[in-house]
Symmetry: C2
Subunit: 133 residues, 2 copies
DNA sequence: TTAGAATTGTTATAATATAACAGTATGTAA
DNA sequence: TTACATACTGTTATATTATAACAATTCTAA
């Protein structure tokens, strides 16, 4: 029907959902996203989850596993989400992507004794942020 | 009615569920656990989740966040689950707890630029294990 | 021995995620 | 420009993961 919005390589639904996540200061959950995009014609969970899956796959967003929530990638170092690290405040729930070259290199070169070669890692740090202290 | 089984500091349900997880070579999901303990009189999800919460809290088990599954702690270094690291095979789903003093020290002493002091971390490495290669 | 804390049992329901199927848009190569 | 493959969309239904709320029992420590 109408042209897809391919300017950024993203499809219409992907772009809508990425924009929402990108401008959110907080990680967003799938059903919060669904609620917020219903006015744009995205009506059902599979539409949201499909866009989320794709955005994760291409590294535009990351899933915070401990919270089942999604944040936009703020970091050029984590090419296609191979090496992610986050700082999570247990009080206000704020999540910050950690961009630390030394940390990233250290972990990327870490290999398991049992002969396993790692392709990817996800690290989540928990604490109380400056504001909440 | 009957005495609780406190020999190990665990209540009856906690002990039943810990035993099941501890002898499993694979991470177990909550509803898999539920199915497997119904013959022992644990009938409903809250009973399972309460035991899991407690076992996580006291460090007897860990939750693998990316899989919503639970493994017994095999590691004396992660006192009360403050510092956990896992190796996860993306092919066979095998999960191994990583016990590496250097890694643990490195991460435990890592602090965020933005003034956040971390109390806890969880790290999940992904790859293809030796067997699956 | 009794009060508080922890644990248990139970029903119902909330929150998170996917299966399956039919249709539409897009890119590309003949 | 047709036709094919691939990716994306829309939709209904359902599977999976997790918690709320309440009543009762058991444990522990004073």
């Amino acid at each position: 029907m109408t042209r897809m919005h391919k300017e950024n390589n993203l499809s219409k639904n992907q772009q809508i959902i990425f924009d929402l996540i990108d401008k959110s200061p907080e990680p967003l959950k799938a059903y919060t996203i669904l609620f917020n995009v219903q006015k744009k014609g995205i009506n059902a969970p599979p539409q949201v989850y499909r866009a989320l899956d794709k955005l994760v796959e291409i590294g535009k967003i990351h899933k915070i596993e401990s919270k089942n929530a999604f944040v936009a990638c703020k970091n050029s170092d984590c090419e296609i989400s191979k090496a992610t690290a986050f700082s999570i405040c247990e009080s206000c729930e704020m999540v910050d992507e950690i961009s630390d070259t030394k940390l990233s290199k250290y972990l990327s070169s870490f290999n398991h004794k049992k002969g396993m070669k790692f392709k990817r890692f996800n690290l989540e740090f928990f604490g109380i942020c400056k504001k909440c202290k």
